[in-house]
Symmetry: D4
Subunit: 159 residues, 8 copies
């Protein structure tokens, strides 16, 4: 019913992107993981992007590093919300290139950008988006927020 | 039915944030506009944030400049998706402070950040999020994408 | 009599913030250490901030990394001086996000920002502030300055 | 009784630094304004710094631009809290030089740095520091915070 | 025979990109100018890129601003050399986003990047590339270099 | 017939620049490797640059770090296309100095800049340039692009 | 006897570089002004640099903007001290490129870099260097320092 | 006869500054090494600076990191040329603070800044300055330049 696609430009991005997969699993949300490279498989990327909303996908999470074009290019061909994860890959200048080439999209084509390597937050954001239509997911997010609070409370007691 | 709250730290952010209001109006989506200052009305911000999802709001767009805490703080108390608009306000260092203090949220509390002064894209992203639950909105976004294409086609002919 | 609260967003900030605790101990000033997370325990943060001056606290030192909202948010609800320590945490972009989101507060709500990871200086600054009302503390600071000079003198002899 | 010195490297910094003078006047706190140049009058700076606490000054606010050495140098010779205001002067690279050369003080010699051109906040911070010893000043700060809230409330009504 | 395509994301980039057209005209090289938007006409961009080398084009010059994906995306689908011109457009952060999202291409897909707003140099570089196969063009470049020298000589005499 | 010169300021740049040599070998293109230091052998650099096009060289790849003057200086004395590789050498500030001193050439003297440490892409770009005159090279580039696609396809199957 | 050459890449740098000429005139030091472009007149630059110390020049001041190679290249062929002035020219990215490509010279070839647009300081530094051999110049510098102090004293009285 | 003082803020800067001592020894120039801390021994710094030219010192090399005030403060009280070495110390933000707080001196008080950690170049620059008055030193510099060339020639042969 609820489905989030998690795509990335290379398998080398998987260690970072795994956090998105894990947190969505924790929320009980179905994920579909794929390697989609803007620069090496541009045509597959176009197919993927154009058909995502027809294939039952609700939200797309796209991670990429360096001159990171994947999130913005997918956003240009899908009506779905696209969440961009700037990855601090080996070819990135401290992450600035990844961030700016995902964040600074022109008017008309938004990408919902999260923090550098922030795949976990991308997953939570996808769940929040699904929570807009599915109250059960929203309740899980409220639970998750409650757990965050409890963990800090626990830290405080451990001081 | 579908409602987007557009909040900002000061009335001086309104010229930038108006783009979000306008594009949502264009999509026929109800908006609620408010001044909510993280640093001058922290308690009202807490009330606003905690109750937004109970007050029929689906998505929150928050714009702020400088050490921009409003989007992240509201995100910390609502289960709704929060879209952050870094505003290049008069007290901002070329926008870097606005961007980094909105984008670089810690794990657990995402803010969907758009480009510097990118309020228009914040509005479109809010519509895309609503489109996940409401197919009529998704159709409007597909129409909008089509118009973007036509405008470029028109430019090409005018060359 | 003189009391400084040292708060931080996570236990992982403690290795950096310990320097503030240690130097204040060296000056014989009472400290109160707590974990207060702007994003995970926003309500506790509000309570802490609103009541600090009623609970005998004179100065608040707040450390945080990434999109570091804790110092500025506490500053928005307390009449006490708040000293912000930008922490170069694991999710920080070389510290720039921590610095800018603490330093660039809007007019009306100051945070006294010290250097990246500069918790020791935060402790000394808190002592200097207490020295304004308590001459015995000011004398200790003059002694401390004298020791700094002696250490350099010692280095010179060791060359 | 309570006295704040406001010093700056050049008369050209006065338009920025005036905000500190004005807000302190608003709080009814005595100020002493002087031109003290680290690079053109280094000896006068040393005299000023060494004697400030003997001359009834409680807090020093120092504004400077470019390679801004005044706040840090004064901090090295006074036991008083020194508040540094990075000024975006004509010879400054977008303010980065002013900020970093004031903020990044070595361990042992803190400067309480505020935002770029943030002289108003420097004045409020000085008042907060004086409020630690003088409850009447603290009450004025609480009043000021209340006025900030009212102004936002007024903006909200004017929307 | 020799043909250079000059494409840009929007007509608003034309004032910058005109320099490339003018200098190529000066060298007597045929140009083809088009508006090709990566984000608004992604499918047309794909068509353009895939067919450029079949349509008699030798070199592609692509200008774009902000999250500038056009040069890199075209480079991903053409065997031709692609010269990228980072444009400091109105939505760009001092040009850093334009530069990094064009320059920092991953291994396998180069873009020959020139200076910010450096369309003139893009034109000269295209001519240099054509000079590799066409000696008459190389001779014109040697002439051009000679003229540059003469202009400086003229400046010297005018001192 | 087709020849690419690969020059660098120091032998310590060779580990980075080797990628250009390797990929050109893979394309069957002849290379000539040399150490040419702008700052230590300026006269040899001038000789090299002035004569390159007379010595059968078609394209020059120049790698350098820090205040990297080699690519731009060679470009000032040759009619050939010069590809600049910013090297993140030990004396470089995160690569920013290398990038800016290669990329930001004045109007009249272009350098085709690739990503930081992007020697592989410099090699591919040189091949693309040679492909403009030699269809056999262009076919090899099309093959190479096809291989890139296959590798991603393989990654996808391995997920 | 004492002679300082002031060179710059273009006549458009003269308004900035004039400050060096003026201050040296004030110190009674002979100057020689020339346009020497690293990229447009590389051979003349080589001649100029190699012969400067034979032509009675003691110190070279070189100003340039963008990818500013003039100071470093001249330094590579002269035994004289070279002072580099980063110019914030129209093609410069806020001056960062000018600064880094002048400052970050490799070991072996120093350039004495002054502040962005700091031609006045370049002139004073040249005078200080000449003061090492000529006590009369050193006395003039001591006088100049005294005048700086007096000007601040005057500002103080005017407050 | 010729004497260069090499001062630094802390013994921890010695590993970087040793390069200046070594190269000056290589040139046969007398050095005087001292620890002079702007922030911990400001009065000793003033004494040192005011008397340096009376104590037979010709050139001062000053190294410091973070908010590096030593070079600029010494420059404010001596008529001698001061060479500043930005040190990338443990408390420095990638060296940017060290560079900017040394380089961006206000008009009237120059510091001859060299590259980050560029103590070797500081030593060579000091020798070049002494070469202005002492031809024997200038000859040694010409020799040194010749050796640099030979080393590159050797590298070339070893390829």
């Amino acid at each position: 019913m609820n489905k989030v696609a998690i795509i990335m430009g290379s398998k080398s991005d998987l260690p970072v992107m795994q956090d998105a997969i894990d947190i969505l699993k924790e929320f009980g949300i179905e994920t579909e993981v794929d390697i989609v490279s803007a620069h090496r498989t541009p045509e597959y990327m176009m197919d993927f992007g154009k058909n995502a909303h027809k294939n039952g996908i609700d939200v797309i999470i796209a991670g990429a590093g360096g001159a990171a074009h994947l999130p913005g290019m997918v956003a240009s061909i899908t009506p779905l919300p696209v969440i961009g994860v700037p990855v601090k890959s080996s070819n990135s200048i401290d992450g600035w290139d990844s961030i700016l080439s995902i964040l600074q999209m022109p008017g008309g084509v938004p990408v919902a950008t999260v923090a550098l390597n922030g795949a976990k937050n991308a997953g939570i954001l996808a769940a929040q988006i699904l929570g807009v239509k599915d109250e059960k997911v929203q309740v899980k997010i409220l639970d998750y927020m409650s757990q965050l609070k409890d963990k800090v409370q626990k830290m405080r007691e451990d001081l």
